[in-house]
Symmetry: C2
């Protein structure tokens, strides 16, 4: 591939803010390498990059009553209600507020993680559970699958996995990667109003070697170059035109024969 190396061009294209959330315990891991690679590429293109390196930050994964210092000690803990109340009163813990501010500052968010048991590592699930609090990302009065606080921001999952691409392909035994990640891409991020891009994946990581890593970064470079121009996945907005009051897709909206997750792609 050819690539302009002129800083002027890059600066003209750049100037956006990108948050990379990275989740691997070893700073010499493939995850850490790809995070560093993406940060370098994006900065070279004139973007500002912040990195939430969850292991380095010793991110607290577990949600409990300590997350809501003002929650009455004797009262039953409803996480949705308690987190919304704390969000609205500015009393969420400092670590969570800092990450919410990073999300609000960002024009694009990249999650860089290894696929552990077909999902994110627990530390990253704990980032989702705690940072995407009631009031901020879901809850009473918060729109779902349409304009929310995070609307307009782009979201890219950048995932590495030990399985081969075919085993996670359309007929692969694990199920298609894009469907395995639907709960994250659609259920978490499109839910908040973000524009979700197709996942970038590096397969068969145990056999990657140097050549494979070069191929992976070449492919990743192209995706990063399109971070602000690529067409997002065409998930349907939750509108009265398309969905019933019981949040079901109105009959006849889909292409004939479509079922399951695919119903929610326009």
């Amino acid at each position: 591939m050819t690539e302009s190396k002129e800083p002027t061009t890059r600066t003209a294209e750049g100037g956006r803010r990108v948050l990379i959330v990275s989740a691997h315990p070893d700073p010499r891991s493939l995850t850490a390498s790809l995070t560093g690679f993406a940060a370098d590429e994006l900065r070279a293109a004139g973007h500002e990059v912040e990195i939430s390196d969850l292991y380095a930050m010793k991110w607290r994964a577990v949600t409990d009553a300590d997350d809501y210092p003002e929650h009455p000690a004797g009262a039953r803990l409803d996480v949705a209600a308690a987190s919304q109340h704390a969000y609205e009163n500015g009393s969420l813990t400092a670590d969570v507020r800092a990450e919410q501010e990073r999300l609000l500052r960002a024009d694009a968010v990249i999650l860089q993680f290894p696929l552990w048991w077909f999902s994110v590592p627990a530390i990253l699930k704990g980032w989702l559970d705690r940072v995407l609090s009631g009031g901020f990302a879901y809850g009473d009065g918060v729109p779902q699958y349409r304009d929310g606080l995070l609307s307009g921001r782009r979201l890219l999952l950048s995932v590495t996995h030990g399985a081969t691409a075919s085993a996670l392909g359309a007929r692969g035994a694990h199920g298609p990667l894009t469907d395995l990640l639907f709960p994250l891409q659609h259920g978490v991020f499109f839910f908040t109003g973000m524009s979700v891009l197709e996942t970038f994946a590096v397969a068969d990581t145990a056999n990657l070697e140097e050549e494979g890593y070069r191929a992976a970064t070449t492919a990743y470079r192209e995706r990063l170059a399109g971070l602000f121009t690529e067409e997002p996945l065409p998930y349907r907005r939750l509108s009265d035109e398309e969905y019933t009051r019981t949040m079901e897709l109105k009959s006849g909206r889909e292409r004939p024969g479509t079922t399951g997750f695919a119903l929610h792609l326009a």
Copy 2:
């Protein structure tokens, strides 16, 4: 519904071992109530019940080098390899070994959790990440989607969620619950060789009230009564007859028009 209350009948039907893994920070939560309810029901039927109450145990959710005390300090951490090595050398941490022993003792395993962002809470993801280690549940020489160390055991997800049943139904905006949980049901538990039952779900938890709770426990009682007799989900075993060497379903094995996760249901 009618139900025999005779202890003799229950003892005759009972005598199996059930592990309940429960994940909610508040001991007064619906999750905790359902865990207690299930334990009482199963014990009354003559079964032995162990409970892994992850919050009460202060379960460590995050996988890092501390999980592998014998891993050389300077060496790069590959979690799959390090955990398999530690498993095979009996050097996994005591908390993980204790849970693996509980799994091996159990004839059935129930995961009781609230659906947080369309998946398990981080503390429970951390139980999966750490307990289902290399060598034990995946890795070199470990069978996938067929006979493994945990084969023959039954698995039931018992989940509570704030969404309505319709919003998580076949045409629901969140996607069907059974597909959202496929990464867990199939990718985690059927992968290890377990027999996975249809998920038990309690919907619309914010509006449950007393009557709703009674209806939920009545429905749960029926499912618990069938824990050892219900037909498991008919996921396909990974055999040479059904799958190619690249782990793809051979063409023509499926019902015409089937795609995605459904390909792996016989």
